[in-house]
Symmetry: C2
Subunit: 315 residues, 2 copies
């Protein structure tokens, strides 16, 4: 189907070595750049390297860049396409559950800098997104957890009905029932697209999608944690903070759902180091952090929290 969306003669696919190895036949006949897999390579040096290769291939402004992979790949492809020759067309083919329901949607892209997530990047919508659920067949367990962490996040801040549905099932069920999974993916894509269309630049509603991410990103930067694990711990923390700030009373339901999908809800960490990392978050302004809290399941709210108060949450 990709051939209907882009011309092989003037397209380049960016993927990673894992995806390339598992799906080699699909890349036949396409210009392909296979990156080393993993968050560690989501850095400017990789971007420089891709740009170098695009120049060697002779890609001009009429070309399309296609990011086929997980969130790291789609983020790098989106970023390169937004700055190469001041912008060329980009298409995304998310191959992980996380990328399908989150990373590939909404136009955010970028790379990390000095251990801080997505410090450099742009917001620019892709020309197309191609969903091919057959990629999920080769997805490792950790990637299922990563995806469900974002799905639970969407449910927690935006959609109580989806939250109740998730409570009825688990990962094993969805892996065995591709149709239900496809429905769940579609619903999440629609949810996120709705938010992005209402607030592309993250001035209001889109901020809700950062639920669990302030602590999550700080943990990810400091410890070896998968994104889903980090934001799951972040969501559990935000639920507890919601209880203190808003009197949110459904903490147990969120914790239970996270555990049901194999996600951690607690970690031992050095509080000072993590608070410091939280304060370097992009969402910080002046002496406040904007935390996403819950009023109830399905309704998130952005609350400015003084840095002093934030510190008190950890003691």
């Amino acid at each position: 189907r990709l051939r209907d969306l882009a011309d092989r003669r003037n397209s380049v696919i960016i993927t990673d070595e894992n995806v390339f190895r598992l799906h080699q036949l699909r890349f036949k006949g396409w210009n392909t750049i296979a990156l080393k897999p993993g968050e560690a390579y989501k850095v400017q040096a990789t971007v420089d390297n891709v740009i170098e290769q695009l120049l060697e291939i002779g890609a001009d402004r009429s070309w399309t860049l296609i990011g086929a992979g997980g969130g790291v790949v789609t983020d790098i492809a989106g970023y390169v396409a937004s700055v190469y020759l001041r912008g060329i067309r980009v298409g995304l083919v998310p191959t992980t559950l996380l990328a399908m329901v989150d990373a590939a949607i909404g136009g955010k892209n970028g790379v990390n800098h000095g251990g801080l997530k997505n410090m450099v990047g742009t917001i620019r919508q892709p020309g197309f997104i191609l969903f091919d659920h057959s990629f999920l067949k080769t997805l490792p367990d950790e990637q299922w957890r990563n995806g469900f962490a974002e799905i639970i996040k969407h449910a927690a801040v935006l959609n109580a009905a989806m939250f109740r549905k998730l409570e009825q099932y688990d990962t094993t069920f969805y892996r065995k029932h591709p149709k239900d999974l496809a429905q769940l993916v579609s619903l999440n894509v629609l949810l996120k697209m709705k938010v992005v269309m209402a607030d592309e630049k993250e001035a209001g509603m889109r901020r809700l999608l950062n639920f669990g991410h302030t602590l999550g990103h700080a943990l990810e930067a400091q410890y070896e944690l998968a994104h889903g694990e980090a934001i799951s711990i972040g969501m559990a923390f935000a639920a507890s903070a919601s209880n203190r700030v808003n009197g949110f009373s459904q903490e147990t339901r969120l914790i239970s759902l996270l555990l049901q999908y194999g996600l951690p809800v607690h970690a031992e960490f050095e509080h000072e180091r993590i608070v410091e990392a939280m304060l370097r978050d992009k969402k910080k302004t002046k002496d406040q952090v904007h935390l996403v809290l819950l009023e109830k399941i399905g309704r998130g709210v952005v609350s400015p929290v003084a840095i002093k108060e934030l510190q008190s949450f950890f003691t």
Copy 2:
């Protein structure tokens, strides 16, 4: 006046060492990053370095980045501001004639890559542009030529009346008559803004502003030439190409005006090497180059020229 546009406590000025040295007092009390001057530093490594410093200073999304300098500085400031934290506010204070009439206007920014001009960047309009003509008092001769090269370009493709006015005077006159100079600058800013507003993404009319730039950029990449010199030679070449392709008959007037403002109209160079560099230009698509040619003084036109035909122009 800058203080009315940006708060010193959450702003960073990017400038270069020359501007900083000549106008030190003006920077007092402002966070300042002074880059090494010159086109050689308009590269990704400088961008990485600025981002590093912004993180150290603790600049968050509420901050403003101010580019105070020539085209290199305004291009780097605009580019950094468009990708740092996925975009922060940018203001420009052009200090050279070239930056005032061209580089700072229109939102194009970026850095060079492997000797190729502006291969990486974005198009994003600044939050404000502050014109302070007193900076021109310290401008070296070469910079006056650079500025007038772009002014003559505007006249040649867009405004025959301005062309006739330029024919009546010279650089010495404008340096001695600040009021006439200010008027000329304003007219050029308006001209360029009109074009940019009609065609920000360079799909049509904005391409006219590339008059002289395809050969110019190629020469600049291969030889030690100032931007104004390079595009002056490029304009002379494009005038001759216009004669061959369109029967353009006012070649002599353009050549004379360029000479009148101290600009070169001819250079000895290796044709093959330069044609090759021209073919790596951003404006290239498939087997054609889009050259900006003149129908008459004041009216430019974008013409697709086959690569073979382009090569014949040099023999």
